[in-house]
Amino acid sequence: MFDYYNLEPVLMWIHSTMCGLMPEWLAFTIEGIAVGIFIMVMYAVLAIILIYMERKVCAAFQCRIGPDRVGGRGGLLQVPADVIKILTKEIISLKNSDKFLYALAPFLVIMASILTFSCLPWNKGGEILHMNIGIFFVLAASSIGVLGILLAGWSSNSKYTLIGAVRSGAMIISYELSIGLSVLTMVILCGTMDIQEIVAYQENGWNIFKGHLPALMAFVIYLIAGNAEANRAPFDLAEAEQELTAGYHTEYSGMHFGFFYLAEYLNLFITAGIAVTLFLGGWMPLHIAGLEGFNTIMDYIPGVIWFVGKTFFVVFLLMWIRWTFPRLRIDQVLILEWKYLMPLSLLVLVIMTVMKVFGLVF
């Protein structure tokens, strides 16, 4: 067993030391603020890394080089430059918009994204929000995002944004079904809704191997539906640059637009992160039965590296899809969900239940 990198004792030690120095409520407050800042910083850093990755990956697919001038040969400072620019850009207020909702919408989107983000299991004991119905909370929190999109489209008082928002609403609410069902499939397999325990269940083998056929199908369904949830091509109908100029955030400028932009990339990361947690073993290292030496070496690699590595692999898969496929039409998106993915995921759920009951899973 490997507990080399378990964060829990460290964190407990910090907490008890602080409680010794000050009253417990103060310790909790300080810890809360520290964790909050940590989440924000992580969020921003990851967004920068993801945007840079997207630019380089798409450049590679398109026989281009991508950013290579700002900040050395690799163009490493390109995205920070964008961030500085967007921070100092004017935020336009519209004359005929619903001002309160218009200002609220980007915060709803980013809040949903951050809430989901804090549920990701980074390492053993390295989960920020830990609760025994963790995966349920993830599903609930991520649904707030669509509210922000709908409000953004409605309050901007523009026809393009309205069409984009309605498209997005119809699509995300539909695809939430498939996501929910495929997550439920894995909850049945693991027998728990606690994210850490779902990961712990995969100690002897990742769920995708344990649940073999139904798990694999659930994984594919999850990837498709998750891609749609994150509003990424080929499901980017809500933005649909070529049709609706910029979709629901057409009227947003400056940092308000920046929030939508950041949330898009972080949602991508979260989708991939949840997929890794549910199907690819979270922070569990890769073990191959029978190869003891190999397994021991794998154990020495910290869980956080495993988690981030696997997540970026899934992110890459999703980017690959994005830069290959043309966009679907709204009716095709809904047909895909209601006629194919939803019945299929129900079927997968049934199969998984039967297999679990009869012990046909590894």
């Binding site: 991508g66 950013p67 001038r69 430059a81 964008d82 500085i84 955030h249 057409t250 400028s253 637009f257």
Partner: protein
């Protein structure tokens, strides 16, 4: 804080640029007004960010737009400079690249788009038609130069300009942005007689 006289661009020497006197005049004006060390340093950082992250509004009306597409394609790849993010919504764009003839019917639309953009905003006039009306100067329906409608930062001549010329124009715009001031007074709003 003394502002540097030279605004450097990677891989091109200062002397190889034209119109350096224009920028030197801007620098002189800035130095005359003066600024604190902290404000000046922050300004430099902001200007660095802004000049390296110019997202353009796709505003192609005719031939030059095709060359702009070629600029974005693999051979010329403007992504290298960070210009590749073209926004279709004027709210999110930093500069409007006017690609092609502006006619009387289009002129109010162009003005409106410019007004819709968020500050800081820059205008690049590309091609003979936008600069002066070009070959259509004598027509009854063509605006003889978009500087009659909106303030222009950089002119890129050509019919249509080659992608290399686009780059030169964009670098000039970057240089111009680098000698701006964000905190404490904006020096973009020059008087008419200076902006030749």
């Amino acid at each position: 804080m003394e502002i540097k006289k030279r605004t450097d661009i990677r891989s091109m020497k200062y002397e190889e640029f034209r119109n350096n006197d224009y920028l030197e005049r801007m620098v002189k004006q800035l130095n005359d007004d003066g600024a604190g060390v902290i404000v000046g340093t922050a300004d430099e950082l902001i200007n660095w960010g802004r000049s390296n992250s110019l997202w353009s509004l796709t505003f192609g009306t005719s031939c030059c737009a095709i060359e702009f597409m070629a600029l974005g394609a693999a051979r010329y790849d403007m992504a290298r400079f960070g210009f590749e993010v073209t926004r279709n919504s004027p709210r999110q764009a930093d500069m409007i690249m006017v690609l092609g003839t502006i006619t009387h019917r289009m002129a109010p639309v162009l003005k409106r788009l410019y007004d819709q953009m968020a500050e800081p905003k820059y205008v690049v006039a590309v091609g003979g038609c936008t600069i002066s009306g070009g070959p259509f100067r004598n027509s009854y329906h063509v605006v003889n130069g978009i500087d009659k409608i909106i303030p222009v930062d950089v002119f890129i001549p050509g019919c249509p300009p080659r992608p290399e010329a686009f780059y030169y124009g964009m670098m000039q715009l970057q240089r111009k942005i680098k000698v701006e001031r964000f905190l404490g007074g904006v020096n973009r709003k020059e008087k008419k007689e200076d902006s030749k």
